[in-house]
Symmetry: none
Subunit: 215 residues, 4 copies
């Protein structure tokens, strides 16, 4: 069933709960990522979602609840994307890392807003959100990190993989920014740069040794 609203636009009515929730979450992620948690207004979110404010509250609760729901959904998506990437890789740890990185950057590139909300906004707000985020992040990261731990019993295995993952992510983001200023490079080339840095280290790089993705 459909109706024309005051502005003449067509607004679908009585959609199933699932669809409505998706609409709202999509809108919320968009607005939260653009404005930040506090500056985002429930008014704007409901407008972008093309739904009335009371419905937003009915479906997803308070602003805090809504934000938490965004984090949960996006974190899950990210996790699944990485899991899919890793699982299609072979056995060699460097190749697994390579696939994990590619999956991760693929996600970040494709869902900028999601990543914004997850990385910037959630950690900027203290308390429950940061916690929620930390939990999710650790699960996701351990997916990629686990492969390193399985690889050997050496010292490396006892590294705090969490910390390394954080460093990796930061390096990747920063490199992505740098990429914006050097568009002549291909995506693969940039990814390879990062792989080189983290796999070979400067120590080897200065000796002219480079890591190569498998053919």
């Amino acid at each position: 069933m459909r109706t024309n609203d005051a502005a003449g636009r067509v607004r679908a009515k009585r959609l199933p709960r699932e669809v409505r929730e998706r609409q709202i979450l999509d809108a919320a992620v968009e607005v939260f990522s653009q404005r930040g948690y506090h500056a985002a207004s429930m008014d704007e979110i409901s407008e972008v979602a093309d739904i009335s404010k009371p419905m937003v509250y009915a479906y997803l609760g308070s602003k805090e609840d809504l934000f938490a729901a965004c984090i949960r959904r996006e974190a899950t998506r990210l996790m699944e994307a990485i899991a899919a990437g890793v699982s299609e890789a072979g056995d060699r740890p460097d190749v697994q890392l390579w696939h994990g990185l590619r999956a991760f950057f693929g996600f970040v590139g494709e869902y900028r807003d999601s990543w914004q909300v997850l990385h910037r906004q959630a950690s900027a707000q203290g308390g429950p959100f940061a916690q929620e985020l930390l939990d999710m992040r650790r699960r996701a990261i351990s997916l990629v990190a686990a492969l390193l731990m399985n690889t050997s019993d050496s010292e490396a295995a006892s590294l705090h993989t969490d910390a390394m993952a954080a460093a990796l992510v930061g390096a990747g983001e920063s490199l992505a920014d740098w990429w914006l200023d050097h568009p002549e490079e291909s995506a693969g080339a940039v990814a390879a740069r990062l792989m080189n840095l983290v796999w070979m280290g400067f120590g080897n790089l200065v000796d002219g040794q480079m890591w190569q993705p498998p053919r």
Copy 2:
């Protein structure tokens, strides 16, 4: 001269402008870091600074101005700390890098609030603040790039110094950020982690090779 205010606390009076400005900035950094930019209220800042709100406005302008002033001051402090660290190092590039990283993490460890404001809060708010940050980042990247430039004449390294510097700075930021949520490690330990990652690479690490600071 001192007086007891209504609440019985002692409040210094008629301080020179310079002193008041420092008080205010200190309070602002503390509050912004704990609450985030939007959730921080000028009321709380003025209370923490133990001064009335109108003085905050008289000395440092609007909330935006105040936030920008915080960012500028902390960014300057941080850059000076790093520059000092690097300059006291010897010639070997890895040692220079090591000192730079230690200075960086030392700063972050000592001034958690400063870093929290600089990195998390400033980047969560868009617009002019992000710009201030980008400037600082650019300076940091130049510093690192210059340092790496000296590393070797090898094609592989000198060719991509910029990209690697960007990646390293990003990794450092991100790791520092991660550290905020995992304060159990020492600054030196965290610095060593990053040093190992970028200097040795995972490739060596999984073979049990680690970088060691010179005795």
Copy 3:
């Protein structure tokens, strides 16, 4: 449906937008006229309108917007009142002028607040408000000028119609303003004063000659 609020007063609820807007404008005109633009507080306006402040903002925007809306509404009302007065008069130009003046002073007498806001407050604030007023004035002057145009073909009169119209409108405004502080006279009496001044001139008046409305 009606409810008693905390103070025990009866407050109508869920009125349509149109009605609320009128309530608000009425209250705003009253308060602006009594306190002046700056001294009037949005709090008082919303109280007088018997509505919460956020609704005032939702319906009519900022204080400036609200003031402008008041001016527009009252200016329109006034111009319509005068036009109606003039149009019901016969052909003789003096009689038309007389009816126009009577309508004008009738309006001022009946809607003191409106005039107070229009003339005193709006002109005391500079900028955009004065502009709105100038528009209204220009319309009023044109109306009078057209009327005087019909008066005669004599060179002396038709040549300077514009100037005389401007002077007449100014005199009317000023006299109305004066009347606000001397409410003891009737609207007709004030109108007659002005009619005598502009139609007969002091020269005749000192000779005891007066203009009389037709029986």
Copy 4:
């Protein structure tokens, strides 16, 4: 004795009270006329007066006091200007009126700010100011009006001269505005227009009769 202040400007010190008061009143009239009573800030007034705020309070009291002092001074000035104008005229009432008008418009033209404060601002603020103004205005006006009353015992003498004065003033102001759009006219010509309107009236003007200033 003189000192250079922070900005390097020279500020005279320890001036006699009289001079300081004039400085302050000049500044206050300027600022009140430009901003309006409420929008004018004591800060700006003290800056324009090139004196510190506490001095303003020491010399002329509260903002209300200061405003009242402005009104009093400017009203007195205006009164004296008109008195001087009238007293140099001869006996004929029309000539006296003519001189009075010329003196009045001379003052308004020369001291725009003073007139702004007196006419617009003082009457826009209710209460004590309006009263103060009315008193002053009535005294000043009666100067000009008295001549008409002395002229004859006719009906005209019992006119509310106050009301007529208000009309005159308004007509004059409006004509001055009109003049701005018709700069080809001389000052005398415009003054003569007004004299014609009020002395002859439209009734005579349409018959081609005009008033002429005496040679």
